[in-house]
Subunit: 246 residues, 6 copies
């Protein structure tokens, strides 16, 4: 079970509001490679892990940390949404920045969430359980975790280039450092798995690699000809086909 601590792992306060950037920041919250993905992925991998001990502990520990990252990004987004132009007339009244913020923000941030974060990506598409994998094979999954941290860090580095706000940049810098630590952690865990004699590449090691396969694909079988099929399915069938018309 879990305990919630009221403090945050890191400061999540922008120097000023920016609803257009809030929309973009959603990508690393609820997108394909966002914090909801890594949090849930590591926790499911840990809970499903049939090997007690250090690997299971590592998965649950990092997954729990990532839940705190979800919290920080939600908090940052909520603050970035303050003072946003709500209508077209506000959006163009004062200056061109307001117009771009009005047009470039996510309307659901206001209409659905009342100025709060959503479990969606930068286009407002909801996070999906299909984003995560806990296969039961730790080597396959740790490889996935390496790329999850690499893709996540890449996205945060890009977001770092998309804002001038010092407070936002400070949080992103913290997350970049954590993602670098985690990339190295999963790479080390892969080496550890091999050292412990638990799994090898190519996965799954227990299914022997025949290795007889040529490097370049070529055709080994003729064009397939399918049988006519059940007439009760009303498919177009060779049984009614006059060969002479071919």
């Amino acid at each position: 079970m879990f305990r919630h601590v009221r403090d945050l792992q890191f400061e999540a306060k922008p120097d000023g509001p920016d609803a257009a950037f809030a929309r973009r920041l959603q990508e690393v919250l609820g997108g394909r490679w966002g914090e909801m993905t890594v949090a849930n992925q590591y926790l499911f991998q840990g809970w499903n892990c049939r090997l007690p001990g250090k690997y299971r502990d590592l998965l649950l520990d990092v997954g729990t940390e990532e839940m705190g990252h979800v919290e920080m990004i939600v908090t940052m987004i909520t603050r970035l949404l303050d003072s946003a132009p709500l209508s077209l007339s506000e959006g163009i009244a004062d200056n061109p920045i307001a117009g771009a913020v009005y047009a470039g923000s996510n309307p659901a941030h206001f209409i659905h969430a009342g100025g709060g974060a959503l479990p969606v990506d930068a286009n407002g598409v909801p996070w999906s359980g299909a984003f995560i994998t806990a296969s039961g094979n730790l080597l396959a999954d740790f490889q996935l975790n390496v790329t999850a941290e690499a893709q996540g860090r890449l996205q945060i580095a890009r977001l770092f280039q998309m804002t001038d706000d010092p407070g936002v940049k400070q949080l992103l810098r913290f997350l970049l450092a954590r993602d670098a630590v985690h990339q190295n952690m999963w790479l080390a865990a892969i080496e550890q798995l091999k050292e412990d004699g638990l799994e090898e590449m190519p996965v799954p090691e227990a299914f022997g690699d025949s290795g007889e396969c040529a490097d370049n694909p070529r055709a080994y079988a003729p064009e397939p000809v399918l049988p006519a099929g059940d007439p009760r399915l009303y498919g177009t069938s060779p049984d009614r086909w006059d060969d002479t018309v071919t």
Copy 2:
């Protein structure tokens, strides 16, 4: 079965076009708490209702009314999409408003629907059958209907603040009034259900509440240790694990 009446329940004509607001208005048409949700939810609850009489009638009546709300909002959106800037050059030629409208509109309104409404939310994400519930338990479902009307009214009130168009505001004010009526209607139906002796809180009443549960959650069971699992699933397994390395 249904009959369609050509007249509308209420006027659905804006004073002028506004494609950026049309995108926002989609939230209460095809979003999580939009009119498509309540229309389909009440109709499915009514059709699945195993209790003949007033509750079934109420569900089918209000669901049928909500179909007419779908119609009004589709009509309003279609009209708001007129005269929209289609290209970037049009979008910035005349004035900053056109630029914000171009950038803030839903491109699918033009490319897919040719200037018509779509069964999607404010971000263009399609309406989903997963949005509705007809559980067969009327008390649980009427509670859902209360919040559906409350969330819907909240969103319409926010949209009311996002436009200056008198024609749009007039329609939204009508919908706000209907949603207030419906909130009260479902609250009254909950009281009626209890009076009729059909269901009580907590749902389901027929499964007795043991009530022995402490208010604050705490751990009652040790850390779970899972069995090794079927080797044919190639999971990482304690059977190959050397305890000394832990």
Copy 3:
């Protein structure tokens, strides 16, 4: 941020395996009203809450408890998946039970998850971020939380009728009790909100209920006639229409 405690809130061990029931139990893990929904919904409501203090604390506390329910159900499902028939020949070899288990289980439990739980519902459809709402309006959201607990308890009561396994029934009974506690908790929070003068029905109170709306819907506007539309969208247009053919 969060801390993970290795112990479970309650015992999650079946007396025997049952992959067909494991598939059904997924509904209250990753379905529309499952534990992933309430956990994420309460946490997002708490994080987005602009009112510091007791309501925010309540949301984060209950959301954190629900994370532990996710953990217990994942653990139970993983154990129920042991010793499952993997192939058709195994499925029918011994007895009719194995045949029904083979045919009635979720294949992805084995092919994708290697004998572990998945963030999906009883049909294998992934959990979606669209299932949760954190609207910023606590009364609307607490009404949603009441129904979420009611729908969840209803589903668990039904699952209770779908198994004879004492270990499973024990866990379900625990969850039923917690969901009863939570239903009452949210109902009490609704009363508290009203007592604190923060919100009233119909939501949002701040947008006055005109109340002038007739109970029975009727038509107030004529059939809408839409303008011809932009010819660059190539829609079928009245401009080419010969009125005499109508």
Copy 4:
């Protein structure tokens, strides 16, 4: 707006329960080509139609009829779900039919809907707003409506072969007849559109068919070479590339 009539368009009563067939019947309710698709598609096409008169009327009339088909199929499914085996032990106790029904039914019919129909397909995947198109071009859309009725009729004909229940077969036969009528109706409407001089194939007629295109595709352009890209996106870039290693 709409009016609901309590009577059904046709009898929707099976001779006996069959939860496995109820799951299959969902395909023509909430699947890609089910009644929810045609009902919503025709209504949206009608509401978005910028041409007043016979085409708009036809779309709204047929769409309204399809809403009644949704109602009939929901009613039939709800009745087919009666007396279903809920647990594995019930499923195998009496006879092999119960085992196949237990394993072959949709668990959400019971856990989520309490013995009622759902807006999902035969696999329990929710209906999606992405299933429908209302493009504003009537010829393109009537062609879609022809195939929608053809695909729907094909599916119902297949379902007709999947049951021996006379009551179910009677309803399916009615739906098959209506779908045949509708196929012919949309084919006639296509001819009418051409006669009225409103649109021609290939769509859109107003964008002239250059016709200069060879029948067989061949390459007209060399392999594309992309520019290096913005370094702030951290893509792998030719700028760091040592040409000698290629």
Copy 5:
């Protein structure tokens, strides 16, 4: 199996970058009626076709050509994404065009894809396998292919009106011509199917059209009254109902 040729079927180079149009162009790549849809639809129809010969060959040939259209549009989008304003300050610094491009572009093009195309529509919603149908009945499917090409051509014609870039217009003109060729091709294939005596309208011909159905829908059955339902599903039940309260 397939072979890839490095050359493109047609030039895919814009005269200048335009990230806002790149977002719009995604509709005909990964939208409901985009190139991914027709490519996959024709290939699945061909692979599933149980009739060897000319129809199967046609499906696989056109499907393979459409894979090349996917390639061209991906290439065009990637080039249109160059030099895009990444931040709000860039977006408004120079001129109003940059502001509209910043606000009107798809953030995932940069954050997720690093300046590349995505398998999504103009709103960033992912392409879905639910978009395609291969029913096994060639007449039903060829009707679908006619509308797929018509809807696709319609969308490309609209996009043609949404840009002034000569390079983009050249590619769109090429695609318009191919879609016109394909519309005629599927219409001819429908005639050929009938001539070959393989299928007739209404589909499926083998299920005879009773034709006894009246043109105008009317009620043939009374209001349905459902049985009480299994008490173990905890639905609201007439068994507890006091008739006097109705």
Copy 6:
């Protein structure tokens, strides 16, 4: 562009039909880690690749091969679907195998696809464009490709254990060998990328790893207190809050 060759890369013929296994085999066709995922992922990575030469060629070559794997698995599934029991009475008439096949098969294989394969996973959930990533950073993406081949090979190895059919096993063995080759290929490409000086771990190398981050997460910031929010969003606000009631 592409050319289609009529021959198959490998024989795809089962020794006998098995509709229940056909459903399971869909996981490696249209599931999260199926052939549609790797085919589209490698092609998009290649098309979006801004580095001409060997990496781009490798991506397009392997992606094109995977398209041929899609073809082989579709063909195998179509053949496995022959002679399936369509109705409950057929399903239980002869033997318990037919009952398990009836209950364990995917109904959409027959109702929607007429005895053909579908772009869906083992539960009938459609393939999604969200399954693929082409980030523009080759090291991040090659890491993803390693795990994609590992997860894919793991799933095929599990499917190998779920059937006794020699023809099916022969195809799976071929695919296992190809996936082993591809795992090694992507691992080698990762080493090559590093040797070529193009990228290093942690990704992105160009964003320096500060490395100052402690290994164990701890709280660095106090509990966040959010501002009151815009009253026009009707959120529950501290402005109406009487501090004494806390």
